[in-house]
Every structure is written in structure tokens, then in C-alpha cells.
């Protein structure tokens, strides 16, 4: 069982586990980082959306063996630190709009939204309804309307 070393939420970690165990389970079952949620295990529901080196990805579909020692993983728990505040502007927007119902998908929704806004920003534009239409994160409570409004608010403050 080879050790795997990488950085999660600013902390250097080492885990002993088989190469092919997906990162989601390494985070949740071995490191007790439970913000990223299981919703499908096959990269379609996006409940586990987190960031690797600043861009969004789905740890349910990445073998831990593919993570390099220099990689920095950010989960919802580490998102505020990326802006040096208690809350990321996107989280604040989520609170202001009272977005969550059951809340299970919301860490993934927020991580996807931050990535989307950053991508649009890199293209020199603000996020549009068409961009939001393409977010794949599933929500069974049906919070989509509030997510849409919150993303626009969060984007304005990022």
C-alpha cells in the first residue's frame, strides 16, 4: 500500500491506501473531510465537486494514485481560506438567499459556481444565464432558482 502525499485545504496529508481508491473516499472515509458528498459515484450528479489546483473536478472519479505531491485540493471546508475570510462571497450569497433546503448538494453547487465565475472572469466576462444552464450539479429539493440568483450575487462580490 503506497503512501500518497498531497495538500488538502492547506494541510499536508499522507494516506496509506491502494492507488485505485477514488479520492472522494480518501477524503471522506480516511481523512474525515465530509463536505464533499456522495451522490452517484460516476461523475454525473456533481455532489462531490471540489477544486484541484484552483479548478473544479469530481473526486469520485479520480484514483488517489493520480494525485501528485504538489497538488492542492480544496473542498468546501477550505474555500473561505482561498479568499482569507470567514466565508467566501459565494457562501455569503448562499446564506443571503437562503438557498439550501436539505443542503446535501450545496457544497458541490457552491464549488461549481465559484469555478464557473472564475472561468467567465478569465474570459473577461461576467457569468450569464446560459453559463448557469450548463451547471450539472443535481438538486432534488429543487433549489435551482435561488442558486441562480445567488451565483449572480456571489459573482458580483468575487
Amino acid at each position: 500500500m503506497p503512501p500518497h502525499t498531497f495538500k488538502v485545504n492547506g494541510r499536508q496529508v499522507t494516506v496509506d491506501v491502494e492507488d485505485d481508491v477514488r479520492l472522494l473516499w480518501v477524503l471522506r472515509d480516511l481523512l474525515d473531510i465530509t463536505g464533499p458528498k456522495y451522490g452517484c459515484g460516476i461523475n454525473v450528479c456533481k455532489a462531490c465537486t471540489s477544486h484541484i489546483n484552483g479548478r473544479a473536478f469530481n473526486p469520485c472519479s479520480v484514483p488517489v494514485g493520480e494525485i501528485r505531491p504538489t497538488d492542492e485540493i480544496t473542498t468546501i471546508e477550505g474555500l473561505p481560506d482561498t479568499v482569507g475570510a470567514d466565508l467566501h462571497p459565494m457562501q455569503q450569497a448562499w446564506i443571503d438567499r437562503d438557498v439550501p433546503q436539505c443542503g446535501y448538494c450545496q457544497p458541490g453547487q457552491i464549488m461549481a459556481a465559484v469555478d464557473l465565475v472564475k472561468k467567465a472572469g478569465a474570459e473577461g466576462r461576467t457569468v450569464t444565464d446560459d453559463d448557469i444552464d450548463e451547471i450539472r450539479n443535481m438538486c432534488a429539493c429543487g433549489t435551482y432558482a435561488r442558486i441562480r440568483r445567488a451565483i449572480k450575487q456571489g459573482a458580483a462580490n468575487m
Binding site: V21, W25, N43, S61, E66, G103, P107, G142, T143
Partner: protein, 827 residues
């Protein structure tokens, strides 16, 4: 409610002048700090409701909310409020919190009566408490209705004790004192915080006490927008769901399930080999019978491992010989054939009079008050509507942690029915109920799925068998293929009309049996003598009659319901609503046709035939605020519907865009097609407690309605469902969600709150269906409309049972590598 049936009830005054305030009995409980318990001695709610006359549908006088309320009444005295030494208030709520916001609502009720900030009231969820009997079920949108009075009574008792204790300290008369912001204030300006009164106000002996409730016109918290009590935890990842709880040695556990519904294990052919796989600690066969002692049996193989990833790999590595399932060979087509072949429901129900509630009338069937014209003068519209299987899966799958050792069981599971879960666990484990503890963590959605104890039973059986704690989670594939489904059904409608009026409306609903045994069975049985139709009805027919209605005056109305199969042939249940998500769309599509035949505007046609003032109010509101009848391009159209249920009224006006530019949107792997662009909802629940939470429930109901119309369904083929995950099961996603949704909460129309969780589902489904029919000029008769068009995904294998996790997650974002082309359900 049609005019000939119901005299319009005058809106109840919110603060009746000169009305004597009612006194409520409760308990002051002996405890180190102030603790009180509420008892609901009597409730005028039903008596205060003017009985409609002369010919109501059953649900208009005694509906599901009444049943649930009556069932909880005898045990409501066991709800307790505790004031802590730091001045905060604790309340343990015997309900599930799965996103519907009931903990926030409870905190508001307590804050209102006690005069404390909402943020200082901490609501947790009660373990299973069998002494609560029916007062620990979360279903039928009944939670707010059933806790509204008892929770306030407990809080009011606490406030009374605080004021008494403060009077001594402040040297003032109790009647001069008031409470606000967690302090008791005197008229002289002195005050004392609750924290300093917590022990002073404590009781040394438990005794009865009486209190009065705050009048409605003095409410300062109820009716104000309050964010969820756990919103910060939810957006920071700190909110703990069952699988996030720290229970030592409760290792991940998953299940290899049979390839067909309710199949059985004949043999495990490679147990030792799988047991030797990395991380695996146990491989064990268990019964997965979810109806212990009642239904059919099924079995499966459980694997416990260090990580869930290793569980998935081990499940797929198992070589199992499977026996037959329960419905092998059945497919959508064979079920449809059997539904059609079933005799149409008779002219239900029996002529038992409604004497319990005052009306000497036949049930559901209405007397024909206007003779039909001579032959040739009437015409009729006949339609059959088909509704396919739907999944009630939440984002958080079925989960449970179980530790069954040494004749004791400790379970954590987000059950909607923890007492029933506890009873079943006791039964299957052979452990007395008193030694089975069921904790209820907050759930990641429920929608009816957690009215069944499948995951808790699975986990407990595994733990007992191996003698170790387990953390059991269903795979998403199991959620589709082994989970509870809304049964496939058909609705046959016949409307008879003359040149200027509708004279008769018949609707006969035939469904695959719905399993109400766990959700409603005992409750209905216990209330059977009080129900206005005591005999000969099945549970399903009872639930049907408690929920089904036609809100409009359509002449003589006949409603009937019957089922095929035993209740447990399939694993069925409710999907965020019971019958009305199918029953109402079928009805409303025909109502639109009637309006057209009679040359009337669809909205005004409905409005003219509504007598219920609240229903009229919400319909007029969406007409005015939603721009009914505004100019829209060809291919875009509106649909509008009003619906009464759970002591409330809701109107939904939806605009659907079916133009090619919209339908042909390309988002890989997405259901594009027609899109609901704009939705206006007006809702009147009597007394709205938290408008913010109420709006959220309406929005959610709309999203579910959209899925019901276009693509949210399961395809049954040869004994199991083809769907194996999200994306296969096409619930509403961001790309389907309306870009504009406006929910209007009507001002209070009564002094009691109604239910909200399911209220919008039937109305939204119907409104979207009507809009789609108008936009395309063709009325759909099969739902969701995409169901029979295609299976727009590659069907995942049934053996091995779980789709393996991909490995390309570093490159496949946002679109997963397996996504197919976009799907237009209307093409």
C-alpha cells in the same frame, strides 16, 4: 368548491372581538432548569370549520391533514421545551428534518411565545419514542399543522414561569411584565435576562398548569422571513448527515443486489476471494425484506470495507447465483395492459353517510342536481392518461449506521417514521423494542422515501450477523433499481357538457398498488371508526378519498380508484405527493378542453367555477401578477391551475417555450427540449409561519412538476428498471429550471397554518402540462412525455450490479465522459 355545494365561509377574523381566549393545559416538569411540556387537551380547529353542504367530496370535509392531526392529538402532551442556564432554549422535535424547514418553524413558534430571539432556540430531532404513538411521523405535509398549537403551548407555559420568577426578582406584578429578546422587562424599565431565571424558574415537582397563547395580532415572529437554522452549516460543509457522523469502527458497507426486483441469493460462489480483496473485512448474505412478517422475501449480499470505494469494487467482484425476482418478465407494456384490463373502479364509494361530520350524503359521487338535457343535447370528452413510474430518490441515498451487539441495537438513520423503524428493527433482530435506540440525524431530502426503513433494516441485519458496527449506504444504482417508486397508473376521464355548461365529470383512476402500510396503515386503522367511510375501503382507496378532489363546479362529479397487484409486489411509495401529481394533471387537461368547447377563457372558466375564496384569491393573483393572456410568440404558451390540499390553496401559472431554438439547445447529456421559462405561483396556507421557507417549498414543487411532465421516469423492462443513476433518471436540472420564478405568499387568511411540502407538486405538474398542450396544439396523454419517445442513455449492466467509478475525473469536467447527446423529450 362548486357553488351548489358549499356556502362561502366568511374569512375568520384574526382577532375576534370579545372572544374569550382559550386556555391550554400543560405540565411544569421537575428539572434542574425550567422545563415544560405541552398537552393538547382539545382543539377547535375541526369544529370551527364550517361544514360544507350539501354534497362535498370527502376530502373537502375531512382530509388527510385532519387524519394526521387527529392521530397526533392524544400524545401531543409529551412535547417539552427546556430553558438552559445560558438563556438559550432547547427543544427536541419528534419529526424528521429533511430540508423542509420544520426545525426553523418550530424555533419560530417558540421564539414567538417566549419572547426570545429565534437564533437562541436550538431544535434537535428526537430519537424514536414509542410512547408518542402517531406523533412522530413526518409525512403528508402535516408537520406544521400538527405541531403549531402544542409547541406554542409549551413555550407559553415557559414564558409564564419566567414571568412569575422575574416578578419576585424585579419586585413587580407579573401582569406588568413582558418578555422580549430573551429578557423579562418591567414597566419601570428594569429587566432580567432569561439566563438568570433558568434555575429560579425550575420546578421541583411535575404538575399541571394552564396557559394562554399570544393572540395572532400580537405576532412579531410568525409571518416574518427567517433563514434556515442550519444554513451556515450547510454552506460550509459542517452540516452532519448520517454518513458524516463519527461512530467508531462503523466501516463503510454496501450491498450487492439482485438483477431483478425483489430477487434472492441462491449462492455466493467466491466469498473467500472477495473477502481477501483490499480493505474488505466482511462478506455476508442478508435478507433485504423490507416488509418483515408481511410481504415477500428478498435477499442480497453485503460487503464491509475500509472505504466505500473498496465496497463498490468488492460488490462488483462477487459471483452470485441469483434466484427469480418478484416481477420478472413484467415491463411497461405488460403493466399498461393489466391496468387497462382491470375493471374500472365502481361508482365509489359505498353509500355510507357522512354522519360523523354532519352531512347525510353519499361519498364522492354527487347527486345530479341538474337533469341532463334530452338525448343529443349533450356531448362528452373521453380521455385516458398514462403515468409511468417515478423515483422518489433524494440526493442523500438510503443510509443507516447500525451497531447491533450484546442484545442491544443502536441505529442512526434519517427516518420519517422512527417508531415504526424501531418496531421493525426489534422484530427482525429479535431484540426488545426498549433495547433498540433509533437516532434521527437530519436527512438529505426525504420525499416519501424515508417512510420506509430499508436502509436501517439492511444495516442492522449486517451488524447483527457480523457482530460489528456498520456504516451502510445504498449505491445510486440501487436507489433507481431497488428503491421505492411512484406506481404506474392510468386515469380515465369523461366530461359531459351542453352548449353552455358542464353537467358531469367522471374520473376513474387505476394504479399499481401503492404501499401505504408503513406510512399510514396503523394510523388509518386507529382512526377507522371516526372516518366518514369506515368500511370496505383499502388503505389506498382511503388515502385517495382523503386527497382527491375537483376544485371546480363541474356538475355531477364521480371519482373512483382501484389497484392491481398486492401492496408489496413492487416496492412503491409516494413521491413528494400521493395521487394528485397524476390525478390533477389528467383532470386539468380535460378542464382546458371543456373551456375551449364552451368558448371560455381557461382561467376565467376556472375562476367562475370556484367557490372557495382562497382558491379564487390565488388564481386572481397569478392572473394579475403573472400576466395571464399576454402576447406570446407562436410556440410559447401559458397554463394555469389552482389546487386545494393540506388546508391551503395554490395557483400556478407556467409558460412553456416549445420553439425550435429552445427545443434544439445542445447541452451534452442533458434533457433540453421544451423549457418552462417563467412561473408565477400564489399560495395561501391560511397562516404562513415562515414565508421564506414556504417560497422554497413552492419552488421545489415546481421543479418536481417539470420533471413529471417531461422526463422524470423509470422504464420497467423484464423485471427491473433501466435507469441506473442520475442522468439516466432525468429529474429537473439547471438547464430545465425556469429562469424566472415568482412565488407570492398571500397574506394570512386564517389563524392556522396549512401544509406546504407537497402542495405545489400536483398544481405545477398540471399547469406545465396544460401550457405544453396549448403551445403545441396537441394534448399529451402519456407522462412524462419523453418516456415513450426514447431511452436516452446507455443502459448500465445489471450484473455486476454497480456502475464502476470512472477514472478520468481530472479531465472530465464539467461534462462527464459518458454523457450522450442532448435529448428532446418532445421530438
Amino acid at each position: 368548491m362548486p357553488a351548489h355545494r358549499t356556502a362561502p365561509a366568511p374569512p375568520r377574523a384574526l382577532t375576534p372581538q370579545g372572544m374569550k381566549r382559550r386556555r391550554f393545559l400543560g405540565y411544569l416538569i421537575a428539572a434542574p432548569t425550567l422545563a415544560v411540556g405541552a398537552k393538547l387537551v382539545s382543539d377547535p380547529f375541526l369544529e370551527a370549520e364550517a361544514l360544507p353542504s350539501p354534497v362535498p367530496e370527502v376530502s373537502e370535509v375531512y382530509d388527510l391533514s385532519d387524519l394526521l392531526l387527529d392521530s397526533t392529538r392524544p400524545t401531543a402532551n409529551l412535547i417539552t421545551v427546556v430553558l438552559n442556564e445560558d438563556g438559550t432554549v432547547s427543544f427536541t422535535l419528534p419529526r424528521a428534518e429533511s430540508g423542509q424547514g420544520i426545525t426553523t418553524t418550530a424555533a419560530m413558534l417558540i421564539a414567538e411565545e417566549m419572547g426570545v430571539d429565534v437564533s437562541d432556540v436550538h431544535v434537535t430531532l428526537a430519537d424514536a419514542r414509542p410512547e408518542l404513538l402517531f406523533n412522530q411521523q413526518t409525512q403528508g405535509s402535516a408537520s406544521v399543522i400538527s405541531i403549531y398549537t402544542p409547541v406554542r403551548v409549551a413555550a407559553a407555559l415557559a414564558r409564564g414561569r419566567l414571568v412569575e420568577a422575574a416578578a419576585t426578582v424585579l419586585g413587580d406584578e407579573a401582569e406588568n411584565l413582558r418578555t422580549t429578546g430573551g429578557r423579562v422587562l418591567s414597566t419601570t424599565g428594569s429587566s432580567i435576562p432569561f439566563a438568570e431565571l433558568a434555575t429560579r424558574a425550575a420546578n421541583s415537582v411535575t404538575r399541571e398548569a394552564v396557559t394562554e397563547l399570544k393572540p395572532v395580532d400580537e405576532f412579531r415572529v410568525i409571518g416574518t422571513a427567517q433563514r434556515r437554522d442550519d444554513v451556515l452549516a450547510a454552506v460550509t460543509g459542517r452540516k452532519k448527515y448520517t454518513m458524516d457522523l463519527d461512530v467508531p469502527d462503523a466501516l463503510p458497507t454496501m450491498i450487492a443486489r439482485p438483477p431483478t426486483i425483489k430477487g434472492t441469493v441462491q449462492a455466493i460462489n467466491n466469498r473467500a476471494q472477495v473477502r481477501a480483496m483490499p480493505g474488505v473485512t466482511d462478506v455476508v448474505e442478508i435478507s433485504t425484506d423490507a416488509e418483515p412478517g408481511r410481504g415477500t422475501t428478498s435477499s442480497a449480499v453485503a460487503v464491509r470495507a475500509r472505504t466505500f470505494g473498496q465496497c463498490i469494487d468488492a460488490v462488483n467482484a462477487l459471483d452470485i447465483s441469483w434466484g427469480r425476482g418478484n416481477v420478472d418478465g413484467e415491463s411497461d407494456a405488460s403493466i399498461l395492459q393489466q391496468l387497462r384490463a382491470a375493471p374500472a373502479p365502481a361508482n365509489l364509494p359505498s353509500p355510507t353517510p357522512l354522519d360523523e361530520v354532519g352531512g347525510q350524503v353519499p361519498l364522492a359521487t354527487e347527486v345530479v342536481t341538474r337533469p341532463l338535457d334530452a338525448a343529443g343535447a349533450t356531448e362528452s370528452i373521453d380521455h385516458e392518461f398514462v403515468f409511468y413510474w417515478r423515483s422518489n430518490a433524494a440526493m442523500e441515498p438510503n443510509v443507516a449506521i447500525a451497531d447491533v451487539r450484546d442484545g442491544e441495537a443502536e441505529i442512526w438513520t434519517p427516518s420519517q417514521i422512527p417508531i415504526s423503524t424501531q418496531t421493525q428493527l426489534s422484530q427482525v433482530l429479535g431484540i426488545p423494542q426498549s433495547r433498540v435506540t433509533v437516532h434521527v440525524p437530519r436527512g438529505g431530502g426525504a420525499f416519501g422515501r424515508r417512510l420506509f426503513s430499508d436502509a436501517a433494516l439492511d444495516a442492522a441485519r449486517v451488524s447483527k450477523e457480523i457482530g460489528k458496527p456498520v456504516r451502510l449506504m445504498w449505491h445510486r444504482a440501487d436507489e433507481c433499481r431497488a428503491g421505492r417508486v411512484h406506481p404506474m397508473c392510468i386515469s380515465r376521464v369523461r366530461a359531459t357538457y351542453t352548449a353552455d355548461q358542464v353537467v358531469a365529470f367522471e374520473q376513474r383512476h387505476t394504479s399499481v398498488a401503492t404501499d401505504y402500510t408503513e406510512a399510514f396503515g396503523d394510523m388509518i386503522t386507529s382512526q377507522a371508526a371516526k372516518l366518514p367511510f369506515a368500511n370496505e375501503l383499502t388503505l389506498s382507496q382511503t388515502v385517495f378519498l382523503l386527497t382527491a378532489s375537483v376544485p371546480y363546479d363541474l356538475g355531477a362529479v364521480t371519482l373512483g380508484y382501484n389497484e392491481i397487484f398486492d401492496f408489496d409486489r413492487f416496492a412503491t411509495g409516494s413521491v413528494r405527493n400521493l395521487n394528485n401529481q397524476d390525478f390533477r394533471p389528467a383532470q386539468e387537461l380535460v378542464v382546458d378542453q371543456l373551456a375551449e368547447r364552451l368558448g371560455e377563457d381557461p382561467l376565467e372558466f376556472r375562476l367562475d367555477r370556484l367557490e372557495d375564496e382562497r382558491a379564487q384569491g390565488v388564481l386572481e393573483k397569478v392572473r394579475d401578477e403573472g400576466g395571464w393572456g399576454r402576447d406570446l410568440p407562436e410556440g410559447v404558451a401559458q397554463g394555469v391551475v389552482v389546487h386545494n390540499e393540506y388546508k391551503g390553496s395554490v395557483a400556478v401559472l407556467a409558460e412553456v417555450d416549445t420553439r425550435p431554438a429552445t427545443r434544439n439547445r445542445e447541452i451534452r447529456g442533458a434533457t433540453t427540449g421544451p423549457r418552462v421559462r417563467k412561473v408565477t405561483v400564489a399560495v395561501d396556507v391560511g397562516l404562513p409561519i415562515n414565508p421564506l421557507g414556504l417560497k422554497a417549498q413552492m419552488e421545489g414543487g415546481v421543479m418536481t412538476g417539470i420533471a413529471h411532465v417531461f422526463t422524470g421516469s423509470l422504464h420497467l423492462r423484464d423485471g427491473n428498471y433501466l435507469e441506473g443513476s442520475w442522468d439516466d433518471y432525468r429529474y429537473t436540472r439547471h438547464w430545465n429550471a425556469p429562469t424566472e420564478i415568482n412565488v407570492i405568499v398571500m397574506p394570512p387568511s386564517g389563524d392556522r397554518p396549512g401544509g406546504a411540502g407537497e402542495l405545489a407538486v400536483g398544481a405545477a405538474t398540471a399547469a406545465v402540462a396544460c401550457a405544453y398542450a396549448r403551445a403545441t396544439g396537441e394534448m399529451p396523454t402519456s407522462f412524462p412525455i419523453g418516456h415513450t419517445k426514447d431511452v436516452p442513455f446507455r443502459v448500465k449492466p445489471f450484473e455486476p450490479p454497480l456502475p464502476p467509478s470512472p477514472t478520468d475525473g481530472l479531465t472530465a469536467y464539467p461534462t462527464p465522459s459518458a454523457a450522450g447527446p442532448a435529448f428532446d423529450p418532445a421530438s
